[in-house]
């Protein structure tokens, strides 16, 4: 039987902590038993990189997917591979890259599991070309409170798509078969351009994103006036084989262990308006004005923050919140309004990430929808912050946009109903596979995702 212990965990933002049982099951049978006997709610947890409270359930039981490590083999012709829910993108890349494959979608960190990638239906810099993670999942095995099921876009598609971005509420993902991307080298060709304000950044993205597989802009939310939202746009593609010649072998170019580590919580307030403004300024000046055809290692291009372990501790004991939203293309002005609102309220914000999304998939709860997305890192502490974020919720909701559950830790249930109009389809799947409401997280309680209000 799986070992059980009681522990306090939080999301990556280190805010609302929850005390609960943590169990690490090793088989489908163990998971079924745990779901059967659970009293106060169960939710799966991977590597804890969600910023808020989706992978915790105060007073309940967290099922860690750490022991679900089934791996491969990788089919060399199709790129298909079956992976346990607990396999991290880090593990996967260290095996796949030397074989000439890459993960079809990666977020800004390799420290996410396959289970988490599906539950949040994660996106990366290539969403405008490749869509989100679930678009590359062929099928998955899921232990629901009513039993083990195998689902795919053709077999119980409602459950398959409800699991995408379903924040773990449809059950515990056991394994998934995903299609990897064939690559010719472990390098990326990168074009970097610097832009003096938000309009310039956005114009450049509209004009040229389609020429690149990967595109993302980092914008400065501490500037105002003519320099409001100045930014650095980096775009790239997997480099052809000849680029790699004379460079380190694929094995050497694969992700490395962090070089630095933050061993303890920094004092809250270390990251304040002054230090963040200074950082943003230095970072902007350091970027090349216009550099075409740079060559970067995969880890540098995709996962720069993985170079510093536990960087979230820089935000101190009070922690930080992320705020990521998307608005339709014809509501692009919301991006400017949001940056102006933050800038004028003196709420400090680290570099924000700006990106364009392509078409959405069929999931009712998956975050990516076509348009512009902006992600902000905000230290907890400024008294104005909660109210400013509530205002942004209104702005985003009215623009027909939505906020990302994997980043959220403070939204209200009313906003969810407005932002996720297909939530009833999601709830009807939950009512079918989990009629007793066994699967629950603090996020689900806080946002009333089950629609029962006393979940």
């Amino acid at each position: 039987m799986a070992e059980e212990q009681r522990a306090t965990v939080a999301g990556w933002g280190n805010t609302a902590r929850a005390n609960q049982h943590i169990v690490t099951p090793t088989s489908a049978q163990e998971i079924e038993e745990l779901l059967h006997h659970a009293k106060h709610g169960v939710i799966p947890r991977g590597l804890g990189r969600s910023y808020g409270d989706p992978a915790q359930v105060a007073g309940g039981t967290v099922l860690s997917n750490a022991a679900l490590q089934e791996f491969g083999p990788i089919d060399r012709t199709t790129g298909l591979v079956t992976l346990g829910s607990g396999v991290s993108i880090d593990n996967l890349l260290s095996v796949a890259i030397p074989h000439g494959f890459f993960v079809p979608v990666t977020p800004g960190t390799r420290q996410v599991t396959i289970g988490g990638a599906i539950a949040s239906d994660i996106h990366g810099k290539n969403h405008h070309v490749d869509g989100s993670f679930m678009n590359h999942v062929q099928s998955l095995d899921l232990v629901t409170p009513t039993g083990l099921v195998h689902v795919s876009p053709t077999k119980d598609p409602d459950l398959f798509w409800a699991t995408a971005g379903g924040m773990g509420l449809t059950g515990v993902i056991l394994r998934a078969t995903i299609k990897l991307l064939k690559i010719d080298s472990a390098y990326v060709t990168v074009d970097t351009t610097r832009h003096q304000n938000l309009d310039e950044v956005m114009a450049a993205m509209i004009e040229g994103d389609h020429r690149y597989r990967y595109s993302v802009a980092w914008v400065d939310c501490m500037t105002s006036g003519a320099r409001l939202g100045r930014g650095v746009l980096t775009r790239g593609d997997h480099a052809p084989a000849d680029v790699a010649q004379g460079r380190a072998s694929a094995e050497d170019a694969i992700p490395t262990k962090p070089r630095l580590s933050i061993p303890f919580d920094a004092p809250s307030g270390l990251l304040n308006r002054l230090s963040i403004t200074a950082f943003n300024e230095a970072w902007f000046r350091r970027a090349p004005k216009n550099k075409v055809g740079g060559i970067e290692r995969i880890s540098t291009f995709f996962h720069p923050l993985d170079g510093v372990a536990n960087w979230n501790r820089l935000y101190g004991q009070r922690g930080f919140v992320q705020y990521q939203f998307v608005v339709p293309d014809d509501q692009a002005d919301t991006i400017r309004l949001a940056i102006e609102r933050l800038s004028s309220s003196k709420v400090p914000s680290f570099l924000a990430v700006l990106k364009r999304f392509g078409p959405a998939n069929l999931s009712p709860m998956s975050f990516p929808t076509p348009g512009w997305t902006l992600a902000l890192d905000l230290p907890v502490g400024p008294p104005a912050l909660p109210a400013v974020l509530d205002e942004l919720d209104q702005l985003v909701g009215q623009a027909g946009g939505r906020v990302y559950f994997a980043k959220d830790s403070r939204m209200s249930p009313a906003s969810v109903a407005q932002m996720y109009p297909r939530i009833e389809a999601f709830r009807s799947v939950l009512n079918r596979v989990d009629p007793d409401g066994v699967m629950v997280s603090d996020l689900a309680r806080r946002l009333n995702l089950r629609g029962t209000s006393n979940a």
């Binding site: 009681r6 306090t8 933002g13 805010t15 609302a16 929850a18 005390n19 609960q20 106060h40 808020g52 409270d53 105060a58 007073g59 309940g60 004991q317 009070r318 922690g319 919140v321 907890v380 912050l385 909660p386 830790s409 403070r410 209200s412 249930p413 603090d442 309680r445 806080r446 209000s453 006393n454």
Partner: protein, 254 residues
């Protein structure tokens, strides 16, 4: 469920019509609080607050009438409050208190007994009942209104001060007993607060308002502090005052 800023969505308030409780609940409702049970003695006053909270968008406001002067009513008050909420309580606020008239209490066994019943016995009994509920739900925050009067008793209000001292000490032991359960306790020690309870008195030094105390509570919910002072300054003032020689202490005004 509390959010990243420590703000609760559901709460039970004992002593719901006290000025500090009302101010706190109003501030919480302006944030994320949406389901509230108000427990108190005065059904009319509770009804007025219920209406005000409903008007400001609270989806559920329930009332439980219970009299803290009757210690036997405590278990029933806990049962009724949790039943009325119908879901786990993110927050329980204990705001019952009676300042009394010390001169009138001085020689009255009956009135002194009532002071301890209302300020100590009933709240402690309720907290014991709440403890079990909160441990069973596996999470939650308990906020207990104490007073700087609990730090050292004074001539002017020693029955009140001693009563709060008992509750304050009980609450600190309660906090220790809950370590590792996911349930936390915070004790709030306001200085002189200008409320209906103190309207007949001269303002003490560092006087504050119910709203200011509420702000300290609402902010404090996001912290790990076990004891909160309102205003923060009285913490340092009383750190010194408590060590004054008795002869000096007795002569202090107020």
């Amino acid at each position: 469920m509390r959010d990243a800023f420590g703000q609760p969505q559901s709460a039970i308030v004992f002593g719901g019509t006290s000025d500090i409780a009302q101010a706190t609940v109003r501030q919480l409702v302006a944030k994320r609080l949406d389901r509230v049970v108000l427990v108190g003695r005065n059904a009319t006053a509770l009804g007025e607050l219920q209406q005000a909270l409903t008007n400001s968008g609270c989806s559920t406001v329930e009332i439980v009438v219970s009299d803290a002067a009757d210690p036997h009513s405590a278990p029933r008050a806990v049962d009724d409050a949790f039943a009325a909420l119908g879901q786990p309580a993110d927050l329980v606020l204990m705001a019952v208190g009676l300042l009394g008239d010390q001169r009138a209490n001085d020689d009255s066994a009956e009135r002194t007994a009532e002071m301890f019943t209302v300020n100590t016995t009933w709240p402690a009994a309720v907290l014991a009942g709440v403890r079990g509920r909160m441990v069973a739900q596996g999470y939650g925050q308990l906020v207990v209104l104490s007073s700087v009067a609990a730090i050292r008793t004074r001539r002017a209000n020693y029955a009140y001060g001693a009563g709060k001292m008992g509750l304050d000490g009980y609450a600190r032991g309660l906090a220790a007993s809950l370590a590792g359960t996911g349930v936390t306790v915070q004790i709030v020690r306001p200085g002189f607060v200008t409320t209906k309870m103190t309207a007949h008195l001269d303002k003490g030094p560092f006087a504050t308002t119910a709203d200011a105390v509420a702000t300290v509570i609402v902010k404090g919910l996001a912290t790990k502090s076990t004891v909160l002072y309102a205003p923060g300054m009285v913490k340092f003032v009383f750190a010194i005052l408590r060590h004054l020689p008795e002869a000096l202490w007795r002569r202090l005004p107020g």
